[in-house]
Subunit: 504 residues, 2 copies
């Protein structure tokens, strides 16, 4: 079908507008990356001014009559518009709608409230003093709830919040998912907590940093991360940032007493990086370059970290390399000992240090609290006690203080309500993708020889290349032939950990 | 005097306009810094698009009726406008005038010619093949000459080019300066070339990098570079970049076989950083934050590198610290041996590796060639032969090939004609500043105990704080009581090197 003149014109205008948006997005991303990795701390204030100007310019480039008219034409001509452009138009319109309903003054107040809350949270965590944090958290919670009502007053607040990170996700679906997690995993976790544990002493000796750096570079090669398009640096809290599919940066950390932490960090961030590196060129600079959702992005980092990196074939493959780099530390360690040690499971207090099996329970706890909080069933003041009760219920442990409990994560002070579930969804999606992948290729076999090309190519064609063109549910159906199936995940964990701990 | 309403209004508008300019300048600087230090190479192309948009926006923020009218009001009201704003208005007007006279199309062609020339220069240098480079250099030379005529057809081309880096500088002044350099230094260099040389073997053994990093951090403390406002990183070609006086970054390199190279790099870049860190707050984000000129900036890096760092009191002070870090490498080395070794002088081919005494002759040679080239006295094709003749005349050596001769520096391919002289001017300015400083404080005494605070405070009040508010000549007169006096520099070098080599 030949395109109408109006659509042709709108496409041309769209590309002109997109050029500006891409530049502001690129600049903002690099400035943030620089602030997170390099900028001296005193630079924050003036950077704030510059970021403010870029935010204004980004806003002006998005909210204006020209863009409004262009989007209207494109969104009314689905059949005449390339799919990725139609999808970006949808996302832009969604973003404009959200921006438009919040008064600018109120949005500024909210941003200041978040900044204050994050600042106070840091002190409160150190002091293990929830009361210090409570009023600031209350303010952020109030803003989040109010904005959610602005966006869509017809739906429950928490459903609206969930959509920010995972389009199509609802409490109904998460209740189902976490119900399966609760039912299937808590009995296993309780049994393992009483089972004999593998020896992990050899993991806690000293692993010199220069060799850990060599390992990181070796892992980048194994993960097929091309050095001319992917940089590696170090930060206390590792992350991945991508400017476009030609410029992605991962960061890691090196702990002398915990070599595996750095190793799995590189593999985890490498998963995020592969997703960004293999998005289609046409998505560069667009809103769709961020991927399908937080959960889908996390599915890729966790796929590589846990489903590949902590698998028996991979650990068997990598051990000789590790023994070459750390001959005294790993002398005489067998592949079986190594596999067991790297997969030791034990209920613990801190989410980011949790093992693969107990991890989703940390998320379940946060999900239940957020849900109740935004339903008005509990108050901010109740959070510490409820937190501790849930940790006792699901993991059989209680934090000694709130610093190691309800105050441990930065997310709430940042107003990231609805984000936590994506961490568990990521692993569950990954399990479902792995099951589909195993129909097509011998995953264990190719991982066992350290060749990840077939795995990456499979994901590239079905998932990476689409970025945010397809929504999460659409990806699941297209790739696995069915909607989200939580049992895939719990079956995988039950199978793996029953075998590891010799339970039937 | 109370300000007129028109001036008050213009000042308000000026601040609004300045906010945009500052943000674009800040973002551009960080993007360039990131590209120089972190960005994977494949990111260059899309970064180019983003830089292009920022350049357009910078242009739009500068060249428009609102700015034109504002500047006209401010520049007509010198007595009513704060000095730093008046000076920035002058600089902005100067910049606008320059931008306006070159047709946009021609400027784009010029930028492409520079990109090509730089690309070809890299290959030509590796191949030591000047003929490969000659046509591209010719194109860049032609553009530079044409643009200089656009800017000011009433003055010789090379005088116009010099002004880009050093306002107020002319061939007449440089002829005088380099005349003194030639006359005073060439006989001394010739004598030293034949004199017995100090033992430097202990400088060429292996100095482990972790200890060199420790040394860099120690030097930052000695240089009073606050870590919350000044970061340090590593790059092949070290440089200093400042976003504002709260965010400065220096880079260095570490060579296992050449510890002193890293040490003097940190001190050199530290001098640039101190200048940026101590500019007045009101200059942040303005054109004046770049300093008074390239020569004045270089005067500070070379002041700290050579006049402080390579001085006998400093080297005597730092030696015990170095022996603590490198006990076997520097065992038994005396302060006198160390001072002599660190100041060994010998004619050499490569400018960036030249010692303090022979360095200005490398610049003199480039100055004479640039001057003759733009006067039409020599052609591009003559450069290799002329280069080799001048090296023989002034340094008594001839490059074995053009890669180690006329092709060694990137500047010409970048169209930085008129820049080289600022390197020598920097040292000469520094000598003049040092002489004035010695009237007020016991420089040797305070350097001998490793306390640079008095030196830095002296420079801060007289030089650093002004940024580009004062022009170079004004700074020289205000600080030293007289205009540029080249003999200060040659007297310092003759005194230092005659003593080092035991010549009367």
């Amino acid at each position: 079908m030949s395109k109408s003149v109006a659509v042709e014109k709108a496409l041309t205008r769209f590309h002109e507008q997109a050029r500006l948006r891409a530049a502001y997005r690129h600049a903002t991303m690099i400035l943030q990356y620089d602030a997170d990795t390099t900028m001296p701390v005193a630079g924050a204030s003036i950077l704030g001014d510059t970021m403010g100007v870029l935010a204004e310019k980004t806003y002006e480039a998005l909210v204006n009559d020209d863009t409004r008219e262009t989007l209207a034409v494109l969104l009314a001509a689905k059949d005449e518009v390339p799919r990725h452009i139609y999808r970006e138009a949808e996302e832009l319109q969604r973003k404009i709608n959200k921006i438009s309903v919040v008064p600018a003054k109120e949005y500024g107040d909210y941003e200041r409230a978040v900044t204050h809350a994050t600042h106070v949270w840091r002190q409160a965590k150190l002091a293990a003093d929830f009361n210090m944090f409570a009023p600031y958290l209350q303010a952020v919670v109030d803003y989040a709830a109010r904005f959610a009502k602005y966006y869509d007053s017809s739906r429950p607040v928490y459903d609206v919040l969930l959509e920010d990170y995972e389009q199509g996700m609802t409490m109904a679906k998460l209740d189902d998912f976490f119900g399966v997690v609760r039912q299937e995993l808590t009995p296993l976790i309780a049994r393992i907590a009483k089972a004999p544990q593998p020896d992990t002493a050899f993991l806690n000796c000293s692993y010199p940093l220069p060799q850990q750096e060599q390992l990181a570079h070796y892992l980048m090669n194994i993960l097929c991360l091309p050095r001319d398009r992917c940089a590696i640096g170090t930060t206390e809290h590792p992350f991945t940032a991508g400017a476009n599919n030609h410029d992605v940066r991962i960061t890691t950390h090196y702990y002398e007493q915990d070599m595996l932490s750095g190793m799995f960090t590189v593999i985890h961030e490498g998963g995020h990086a592969l997703y960004m590196l293999h998005m289609a060129d046409e998505l560069n600079g667009t809103l769709l370059a961020k991927g399908a959702s937080s959960g889908i992005h996390e599915s890729q980092s966790r796929f590589f970290e846990n489903f590949i990196g902590r698998s028996e074939p991979f650990l068997r493959f990598i051990l000789p390399k590790l023994q070459e780099l750390f001959p005294t530390q790993l002398k005489g360690v067998t592949a079986e000992q190594f596999y067991h040690a790297a997969n030791r499971s034990q209920p613990s207090l801190i989410r980011i240090h949790a093992d693969e099996l107990t991890y989703p329970l940390h998320i379940l706890i946060r999900y239940e609290l957020e849900k109740q909080l935004f339903a008005g069933e509990i108050a901010v003041a109740d959070l510490p006690q409820k937190w501790n009760e849930l940790y006792q219920t699901y993991l059989g442990i209680t934090p000694p203080d709130d610093g190691q409990g309800v105050l441990q994560d930065v997310h709430w002070s940042n107003s990231y309500f609805g984000y936590f579930p994506t961490y568990a969804l990521g692993s569950a999606y990954a399990a479902q993708f792995l099951a589909a992948m195993e129909h097509d290729i011998d995953v264990s076999g190719t991982v066992a020889v350290g060749d990840l090309h077939p795995v990456i190519d499979w994901l590239k064609d079905r998932l990476f290349c689409f970025g945010g063109v397809k929504l999460p549910e659409e990806l699941l159906i297209d790739i696995t032939g069915k909607p989200f199936a939580p049992h895939c995940y719990t079956d995988y964990l039950k199978h793996k950990y029953s075998a590891l701990y010799g339970l039937d």
